[in-house]
């Protein structure tokens, strides 16, 4: 029994069914309750702010970048300059300003991560919802197909596909999205399976609501919180994946810059120009970490037990 006040996490008071009266003003909808909980998690909020800052910086790259990231001039004077007031992140082997490159690189890294996530989540949600709701042999068939698909080592699949199709960014996003949807599908399926049993779904049947409306109006909104958590986590992972791919030379090719290929360029010059790999690396780490923290925060905030708080 500690002395701490106000534990964020919900208490499970033993043996007590729920009896609630109207709560304080402004915290009524399930989403606003979740919002409030999220906001009280300072780490998650900090992470969210960080993501927001990075996104804005990436968006405004043309305005914020002090130099043209592709400009190559007076190479011999400007190459491999360590970080200074003129070049906060130093310069690369061609004298290009690393800060500007990092800003433009952020655009690609973030965009690829988010868009690939959208592809994965859309496919995964649809697949999982159909399997979960239909049940029976359809579910069986879909899940076994999923198992077979999962059996392929994902990374090699990406390598293969990226090699076969010339990796322009659009294709890359599709490839990454189409190899990452399986976890979401499983998650949605199990959510829907458990939601299907809930009494309010039975009640919807009882009034004669057709299947597709039950899925759309009742099941998916309630499964949405899991999707959100899984999606944010996925973005972090996908950004990392893109970085690795670009690092290996299979992802985005120069001259388009992403953090991944910037690190790769910095690898060769690691001992003479540590800053080339360092700054993109740090940015990458911070970004992925931020998405993970936001995902954690969302998971805590959206905990379904948040609605049924146990009173004594």
């Amino acid at each position: 029994m500690g002395d701490e006040l106000a534990d964020r996490a919900f208490i499970d008071v033993p043996g007590m069914p729920v009896e609630m009266g109207p709560p304080a003003q402004g915290f009524r909808t399930p989403w606003s309750i979740a919002q409030r909980r999220f906001v009280s998690n300072r780490l998650a909020v900090a992470a969210l702010i960080m993501i927001a800052l990075l996104s804005v910086a990436a968006l405004l790259a043309p305005i914020l970048a002090p130099y043209d990231p592709t400009a190559i001039e007076h190479v011999l004077q400007t190459r491999y300059l360590p970080p200074s007031w003129h070049h906060l992140f130093g310069t690369d082997e061609f004298g290009r300003d690393e800060l500007s490159r990092a800003l433009y690189g952020a655009r690609v890294s973030l965009a690829v991560g988010v868009l690939a996530m959208l592809v994965a989540v859309s496919v995964g949600t649809l697949y999982g919802a159909v399997a979960g709701y239909a049940g029976g042999w359809i579910d069986n068939l879909l899940m076994r197909a999923l198992d077979a698909f999962t059996a392929f080592p994902k990374f090699f699949l990406i390598l293969l596909l990226a090699g076969v199709f010339e990796a322009d960014i659009g294709v890359l996003i599709l490839i990454m999205g189409l190899t990452s949807w399986t976890d979401t599908a499983r998650l949605i399926r199990s959510e829907i399976l458990s939601l299907k049993q809930r009494q309010f779904v039975e009640a919807a049947h009882a009034i004669g609501l057709p299947d597709y409306l039950i899925v759309w109006r009742h099941l998916i909104p309630n499964a949405l919180s899991s999707v959100l958590v899984s999606a944010t986590l996925m973005v972090g992972g996908l950004i990392g994946t893109e970085a690795i791919l670009s690092f290996l030379g299979i992802g985005v090719h120069p001259p388009t810059m992403t953090w991944g290929n910037m690190i790769q360029a910095g690898q060769d010059a690691l001992f003479i120009a540590w800053w080339m790999a360092f700054f993109p690396g740090v940015l990458l780490a911070i970004t992925v970490l931020s998405f993970n923290l936001v995902s954690d925060g969302l998971r805590d905030a959206l905990d379904p037990k948040a609605l049924t708080r146990r009173y004594v």
């Binding site: 701490e4 106000a6 534990d7 008071v13 033993p14 043996g15 007590m16 009896e19 009173y311 004594v312």
Partner: protein, 319 residues
Amino acid sequence: MLLSVRNLTSYFFLDEGVLKAVDGVSFDIQENETVALVGESGCGKTIVALSLINLIPAPGRIIAGQVLLSGEDVVTTPKDRLRQIRGGEIGFVFQEPGSSLNPVYTVGHQIAEVLQTHRGLTRKEADKEAVRLLGATGIPDPEKRAKSYPFQLSGGMRQRAAIAMAISTRPKLLIADEPTTALDVTVQAGILDLLEELQQQYGMAILIISHDLGVVAQIAQRVLVMYAGKLIESAHVDALFSSPKHPYAQGLLDSVRLRADRNAPLRGIPGSVPDLLRLPGGCTFHPRCSVSDLSCRTQFPPMLPLAGDRSCACYRVHQ
């Protein structure tokens, strides 16, 4: 006096405020007596039970009061002694049948473990005693059952096993928190009979917590009625059921006596249990009370004694 509870107060400290789960509850339990703690959801009875062994989950804790077990205050005893008391002098049976049983160990093993820890028996002796206890709680074929895992037993049998574990240390007080609520009524009868039998055999006091007035009427000698964290009436079972004094107790008994007359209106208590975070001022029951007046809104009425070894917390009753 076996157990003497004085001004027990346990609060939960939440984001939204302070939840006054138990607010100044005082009562006594004598040796060999069966006392029932009755109330509806949200009245705090489970927290009272947990407070008696100082086992309230965070963010709750006991902030005031004493729980004197034969003179020793459970609230302030050091951890080591507390561990001895829990499961030793005070046995606990939970609502979910067998929730006190670890699913990955056999039933016999768990009871034996308790015996070894608390009564210092050897492994062999403990195993034998465990089988005997299982038999004593009415489990058929106890030797075989001792080797079963909890999930292999039905709800009623799990509860019997949990009771066996709880009484294995010959506790002076057995606290049973809604022990039959999750069981079928035919199984419930058996468990209640068992508790009565064990009490006679082992001479222990029982504190049974329940919302079921039928169960209370059948097994209890004295009844304590709780509402929204406070004790509002205390009386012998016959007295309470024949003439409840507190308006809430009256309403409760009226609600249960549905059978009386088909043509009589079904009478409950209007409104619902208050939010423990936002309790009404004065007497917590007054918004739902048919006989309340202005004086009931100022301060919570003190628990005052009445004739016939009973007490009640209500201004109307003592006028």
